[in-house]
Symmetry: C2
DNA sequence: ATGAAAGCGCTAACAG
DNA sequence: CTGTTAGCGCTTTCAT
């Protein structure tokens, strides 16, 4: 492990000059060459840890998401990564499992490792951002808002719920909604869209068709079973996210009600659906774009931007479309 | 950002003692208490960067995978993470996109950041491990072998291909295979299992039914289209991985051949399938276990284990089962 | 058991 | 443009 001292000696310059060469400050051409040659010769790799310690900041940004196995979040991660690596930042992906405790651990790591900033999909509405904020590290919230005034980028959840429900209401009488936990903002907002679509269609939202579950496959399964067991079951259903959609459709298939036998609209993409594209309606959520936007906002803050916090809502024009992602 | 010096002053001890308290070496009970109190008071968080610089090793392990959006790899990541965090290590997830150049970049970051070690799903058969190995950092290969003698854990790919094909051959005449790129070891081995199953069934493997494509959804789609266009199309197909399976089934659905109309066996889980569980045969690959095993092996090396490199093959007894993950 | 002191490798004033 | 120097915050001998 060669250091800048080794390189400096080999190139006949001072360590500072070596550092300058690797940081793009002005050095005479000949010395640059000498340093580069020596560095190559010695297989010199700058020690990032030392640099981070000195600079008190590293070129990595943290991304904390609640479920690394949910394609929605990996797509988001993709977006973050693309923008970040373009700008020379690495991103480290942390899985909070939707547990505030794990989230707190990772937030702690972020400050202890001097990460430049964090993009956080909050696990609860009470994320403790005190430590990281007082360390001066910017945080941007994605998917859900944090409990304080920080940059955030979220989906037009209400619109998505509205689009899905009103699409189904055009040709169906009893349109159910299966959402995530009611206390999660995204679930509540999408449900509100569902309600509004009913009202705008001149119908009172049927309370027994509104189910809050979990944003996971088993949540969708269990809720769908309950809906089918109703005395007067729905003839259409809005799935509050991709995984709920998967679970609901699985149950329908098991009951020989594979869509479009019973109509389904899913909020969020179905990247690995094996259904024919026309069978299910999808209201796509631009997760990748959300990641890219969040990354850009974060980098702006990292570079010292101090505009007032902005809240960006993505997907103003949500079109129900066929499945297939 | 309090430092150990601040804590030391507040607690009336030396910085060394504070360090000892946080590293579990012997310190008298009263000083421990004083230090802990002061640390809490000052909201002290040990600076990991400084520790890493001094110790020349950090408690993070790198995990480099070719496709973060493939559930197979996120499941693997889950396994790694569970074992690692249990042992007090964080894992940073890096997406090589199956590009050797990106892989090389991340390998470089791993040494520059003093990561304890790396778990690598090689993007090619010529990963350059010189730098990281000469830095003394252990590497364990997962999913595919590296081009040199290091610990590795892979799937019983041949068996998986064999199990899938022989299952289908019990009730079908023309069983195709769609695999990833032929030069990728996993693809080649699974194909070999498919061939062997034919021979054991007393049939010559039909060359026109063996297609090498890409390990992605579009690869599966395109190959399935080609198979259906054959003069004598197959009546069953083995998908070489989960994404190929998704693509193939999508195409089948579009041609009104939804499984089990045309029989499909998929190598690897179908976590988000929306098919009824009995429609598709799945030969499950224990990705999570692979991650856990790799993490354990890596940690052993990190702790100084110097046994000769081991090669672990997972899933000796692969049972074809119904879909649904 | 505890403290003093010397760095880990790099960067950023500050001179020159 | 270039070199000297002083740390970043922590761990770890080496004494005591």
């Amino acid at each position: 492990m060669a250091t800048i001292y080794d390189v400096a000696r080999a190139a006949g310059v001072s360590p500072a000059t070596v550092s300058r060469v690797f940081n793009g400050t002005s050095v005479s051409a000949e010395k640059v060459d000498a340093v580069r040659a020596a560095a190559r010769e010695l297989r010199f790799v700058p020690n990032r840890t030392a640099r981070t310690l000195r600079r008190r900041s590293s070129e990595v940004i943290g991304l904390i998401i609640p479920d690394i196995e949910n394609p929605y979040f990996t797509e988001l991660a993709r977006g973050v990564e693309d923008v970040a690596s373009e700008a020379g930042y690495s991103v480290v992906l942390c899985n909070s499992d939707a547990e505030p405790a794990k989230e707190a651990t990772y937030l702690g790591i972020a400050v202890a490792e001097h990460m430049s900033g964090v993009i956080l999909a909050p696990a609860s509405d009470r994320s403790d951002l005190d430590a990281i904020q007082s360390a001066g590290r910017p945080v941007v919230a994605v998917d859900r808002h944090a409990d304080r005034e920080i940059d955030s980028v979220v989906m037009a959840n209400r619109d998505a719920g509205y689009a899905a429900a009103s699409h189904l209401l055009r040709s169906h009488r009893r349109v159910a909604y299966i959402g995530g936990p009611e206390h999660i903002e995204t679930a509540a907002e999408r449900a509100e869209g569902w309600r509004q679509a009913h009202r705008d269609a001149g119908v009172e939202p049927p309370g027994e068709l509104l189910l809050f579950s979990s944003f996971r496959v088993d949540g969708g399964r269990e809720a769908m079973e309950r809906l089918l067991a109703l005395p007067d079951p729905p003839d259409a259903v809005v799935a509050g996210n991709n995984l709920i959609g998967v679970g609901a459709i699985q149950v329908l298939s098991e009951h020989a009600l594979t869509p479009p036998r019973l109509a389904v609209a899913v909020i969020g993409g179905l990247p690995f659906t094996t259904l024919s594209p026309s069978a299910v309606t999808v209201v796509r959520l631009p997760a990748r774009e959300m990641g890219m936007t969040a990354a850009r906002m974060l980098l702006e803050r990292v570079r010292g931007g101090d505009a007032p916090p902005r809240n960006i809502v993505l997907g103003g024009e949500l079109h129900p479309a066929s499945a297939g992602d």
